[in-house]
């Protein structure tokens, strides 16, 4: 058994940069741009009306380059991240972020490309977006994707807007979107933003939505259902096809929150489940880094009948030129940025998409290729079930759905650790001192003291065993008195969030 990573490292303290300055210092090189000294010295009022001119410049820190570099390097050492620790955050798919993707996204001309460069000069870039779209269509069985949504929630919003517009054009005023009670908070929030009223459906005994229960909610007011599959308990919605049929029979849509798509990437198609729309979180399933909160990409896929509603602009193939082959020279104008979608919901973003995220995701898929892509979900599901089985003996499963297999994540309640006087939040904080990032806690809300673990396919049995051993020690050997003080080895201890919220300090 390997050692716990623990935390024994060096933590260097660091003051705000604002307090480290010395008048006149700066850390940036400024060109003279060939300007004459006299021009450089000229007052701004020689160019614009003095009434517009800012009298005192913003009070930024006054620091040199080495000071800035040391400052932010020290700050970075206070973070846990995927590259340093096991990060089993449920519903977040914290898989390894391949380094080659970073190198590719940093290619000089790509990263400096202006989005309004004439189309004839950027054919390879447009082709890339077009080809990636086709691959996503094959993986899902849907007709077309839009990369306009900048994140998962934006994808949900775009999808719901499409449903709204569809009914508006039909002259039907349907107001309800059905949402399971276990859904991510973004689902009801996106529904409201798109002009709908979310109505919650209770999860059935098996941890899934019950088609019979759903029937009770069906009426001509229902525009659609948003369903996370596998759901937030990590359980596959067995009735999914039936749910889709019920919706379709009612003239409604079935939207799938694809936050958990890692569970069947390359193994099953959403079209076979009857899904009409789905957003794929490229920053989860497709390995692009989370960046400490963003950026992401929530590519939205739809069935044929909804293609005309997708956001604009999009990449359109305008000639039938054979473009096969990776290293062809891109001389002909084959692709263009088009806005000709008859029923488009409009624009989501000023330009095309979060391109630097999309390119990483595309590189990831090309790395895997058809030989490896299906292994992603297989390994993710195997790892999660291994954790479920092993930890199931240590923690108790959430009562109703002990039996059966989970998909890419598993959820436990706090019953077992409570016996030891330890709460879910204390388990989370204790794990930190063992050198693990805590799992998602207290979500889904309908599980008491929920502990939600998503190991992903990029963790080894060795790491999982190590983590399981830590949970076991906490469950059986840890005293309450130690738990309430944890974590003890981090840069700061338990943060006073009450103070932070009662007397908010927003800036220096």
């Amino acid at each position: 058994m390997p050692k716990f990573p623990g935390i024994k490292g060096i933590f260097l303290d660091e003051d705000p940069l604002m307090e480290q300055g010395s008048k006149g210092l700066k850390g940036i090189s400024i060109p003279d741009c060939g300007l004459k000294k006299s021009d450089l010295k000229k007052d701004e009022s020689a160019y614009i009306d003095a009434k517009y001119i800012r009298k005192s410049p913003p009070e930024l820190p006054e620091v040199s380059e080495p000071t800035v570099v040391r400052h932010f390097t020290r700050l970075s050492s206070w973070n846990m991240c995927v590259d340093t620790v096991f990060y089993p955050l449920g519903s977040c798919t914290m898989k390894y972020n391949p380094k080659i993707n970073e190198k590719i996204a940093s290619l000089e001309n790509i990263k400096n490309l202006h989005p309004l460069t004439p189309g004839s000069l950027i054919q390879p870039v447009l082709k890339m977006v077009y080809d990636f779209n086709e691959i996503l269509c094959r993986l899902t069985g849907l007709a077309e994707f839009s990369f306009a949504p900048q994140a998962g929630a934006a994808g949900e919003f775009a999808g719901l807007k499409i449903i709204k517009k569809y009914f508006d054009l039909k002259g039907e005023n349907r107001k309800t979107i059905l949402v399971p009670d276990s859904s991510h908070g973004t689902n009801p929030a996106s529904s409201v933003l798109a002009g709908f009223t979310p109505v919650e459906i209770k999860t059935g005994k098996a941890g899934t939505l019950d088609a019979g229960e759903l029937e009770k909610f069906v009426s001509k007011d229902v525009a659609g259902i948003m369903i996370t599959n596998p759901n937030t308990f990590g359980v596959f919605e067995k009735d999914i096809k039936k749910i889709a049929e019920i919706m379709h029979k009612n003239g409604s849509f079935i939207y799938m929150d694809g936050a958990n798509f890692n569970a069947f990437l390359g193994s099953a198609r959403v079209s076979d489940m009857g899904i009409d729309l789905i957003q794929l979180n490229l920053h989860k399933t497709f390995s692009t880094p989370h960046g400490g909160g963003g950026p992401g990409s929530g590519a939205l896929g739809v069935v044929e009948s909804l293609r005309e509603f997708l956001p604009v602009p999009y990449v359109k193939k305008v000639s039938g030129e054979n473009t096969a082959g990776a290293d062809k020279n891109f001389n002909r104008q084959v692709y263009e940025l088009a806005e000709d979608k008859n029923n488009t919901i409009g624009k989501m973003t000023p330009f095309l998409c979060n391109f630097a995220v999309v390119i990483r995701a595309y590189a990831y898929l090309l790395s895997l290729g058809r030989e490896n892509i299906a292994s992603v979900s297989e390994l993710a599901v195997l790892n999660a079930n291994y954790v479920k089985k092993k930890l199931g003996k240590i923690l108790s499963d959430p009562g109703p759905f002990e039996e059966g297999l989970c998909m890419h994540e598993c959820v436990f309640n706090d019953k077992a650790i409570e016996e030891n006087g330890i709460s879910t939040i204390e388990l989370a904080k204790l794990l930190i001192d063992y050198g693990f990032h805590p799992p998602t806690v207290y979500f889904p809300k309908n599980i008491r003291g929920a502990i939600m673990i998503e190991p992903t396919e990029t963790e080894s049995i060795r790491t999982l065993d190590n983590f399981i051993k830590a949970v076991k020690e906490i469950r059986f050997k840890t005293k309450k008195s130690k738990a309430v003080k944890s974590p003890q080895k981090t840069k700061v201890g338990r943060v006073n969030e009450v103070l932070a919220n009662k007397h908010p300090i927003f800036k220096y």
């Binding site: 700066k26 701004e44 001119i53 800012r54 970075s76 058809r370 390994l379 201890g493 800036k507």
Partner: protein, 473 residues
């Protein structure tokens, strides 16, 4: 199953996993889970590209990179919402640290102090630049941020009037000086609420928002929850916010929303806070971020303190830990979707955190004097370029108003010689063939042009010389 390099379980490990779970193979595993849903057919997978080794993959993208306009050859004078600023190497050096780019959102503050502290510094510096009270930890981009600002203003206005959320009688006034893509995004977002969207004309001479038109539209009666103006505006012109602000605030239920796609301007001109703006929502990509073909961008959102509870997005606050040490954490989370669900101020979750950290590093490097100096350089270079182009006799001004680093010109029509007349977009295409991104065509005959510290006098000269050849051809 292959042993692919991103998968740390060997064939033996995988066999062990199956054994422990008491399952034979993938078919049985997914069969049990998926019930009636079929496993993906081999034929579908076959249609996907073959796996690429790392070197082949790199060359594949390198080939793409070498077939688009090259950074070392192209002079970029295009703006229109995204600007070609210099990015210091120190940013890339720092951002290559996994500790910044591979964590999730810092929901566990004890293990995320680095990101939280950096975001707090970001909020502080942006607040200082904008002259606003509270800045959030970022939105997706300037357009989405502005759309959310409009929704926030609508909530504020109905709360004040104590009316339910219906907005059929509400009118949002948006200046025609606002970037048209931003106005489109506002329409996408506000469309479901029933609110009407009205335009305020531009003054044909100055290119500023027309005060008389604004007065008239405000005097029409009706409820106006928000008036939106961009500074400097889409055409590059500096708006006279001092004149506009009191008109809007004569109605206490109206919010004065200022946007900007180029907050670098606030190194030279007065910031939105100076003019008593209620909300600022715009783009921050100019601060240390690459153009990346238009995304990800950095949405900035700021407001007066009293409106903080209507703000969308995450906010970092400063607090203490149990031992009285400074610590940082997300605050006022009850506004957000993960707590308030359908009643949240926004559905946003993932934002542009990493871009915000880049901006914090960038602004620190700039420091007080550098920020002002670079802003001033932008102002001067743009004026030199405009003068140079006008003196060639091939262009004429579109507007007379003052500007920062962006301006618009019309191509001069030369007598009856039709064959010599080219459209603005043809002009840009032809200039692009000469490695000059000459701007953006904003009409048949007008071009929007920007200059930054990345365009020295030699680039300006190159622009002028080539324009002469293209237009006189």
């Amino acid at each position: 199953m292959n042993n692919f390099r991103y998968f740390p379980n060997s064939k033996k490990d995988i066999a062990k996993l199956y054994r422990i779970l008491g399952i034979k193979d993938k078919k049985e595993l997914f069969g049990k889970i998926l019930g009636g849903i079929p496993l993906m057919e081999a034929g579908i997978l076959k249609a996907l590209p073959e796996e690429m080794d790392e070197e082949a993959l790199y060359r594949f993208f390198l080939n793409i990179d070498s077939n688009i306009p090259a950074k070392n050859k192209t002079a970029v004078f295009a703006g229109g919402g995204i600007y070609n600023h210099f990015v210091p190497a120190a940013i890339d050096g720092l951002m290559s640290r996994s500790e910044f780019y591979t964590p999730y959102t810092p929901y566990q503050p004890e293990v995320s102090q680095g990101t939280l502290f950096a975001l707090f510094e970001f909020q502080s510096m942006i607040a200082e630049i904008l002259g606003m009270d509270v800045v959030n930890a970022s939105m997706y981009d300037g357009a989405e941020s502005l759309a959310e600002a409009v929704l926030a203003a609508m909530r504020l206005s109905s709360a004040n009037r104590d009316l339910p959320a219906g907005h059929k009688d509400d009118l949002i006034l948006i200046s025609e000086g606002v970037n048209p893509n931003y106005t489109s995004v506002i329409k996408t977002f506000a469309g479901g609420t029933g609110v009407k969207i009205g335009k305020i004309k531009l003054n044909g001479q100055t290119g500023q928002t027309d005060i008389e038109d604004l007065k008239q539209k405000l005097a029409n009666g009706g409820r106006v929850p928000a008036v939106v103006v961009q500074q400097p505006n889409y055409l590059g012109v500096i708006e006279d916010l001092e004149e506009i602000e009191p008109l809007i605030h004569s109605d206490s239920n109206s919010s004065f929303i200022v946007s900007s796609t180029e907050p670098y301007s606030f190194g030279v001109i007065n910031p939105p806070g100076f003019y008593n703006a209620d909300i600022f929502a715009g783009e921050g990509n100019s601060f240390g971020n690459y153009m990346n073909f238009g995304g990800p961008l950095l949405g900035l959102f700021a407001a007066k303190k009293e409106y903080v509870r209507q703000m969308p997005g995450r906010i970092v606050g400063k607090t203490k830990d149990g031992k009285d040490r400074d610590a940082y954490a997300f605050i006022l989370s009850t506004r957000e979707q993960h707590i308030r669900r359908g009643a949240a101020t926004s559905n946003i979750c993932t934002n542009s955190s990493l871009n915000a950290v880049r901006a914090a590093i960038y602004l620190s490097l700039c420091s007080k004097s550098g920020f002002k100096e670079i802003a001033s350089l932008n102002l001067k270079l743009a004026h030199i370029l405009r003068d140079r182009l006008l003196s060639s006799g091939l262009f004429e001004p579109l507007y007379e108003g003052d500007f920062f680093n962006e301006f618009s010109l019309k191509l001069k029509i030369k007598g009856n010689k039709h064959n010599n007349n080219i459209t603005a977009s043809e002009f840009i295409e032809k200039m692009a063939e000469r490695d000059i991104l000459a701007g953006i065509a904003i009409s048949e005959s007008a071009v929007l042009i920007s200059a930054t510290e990345n365009n020295g006098l030699s680039d300006i000269e190159k622009y002028a010389e080539n324009a002469k050849e293209v237009l006189n051809a």
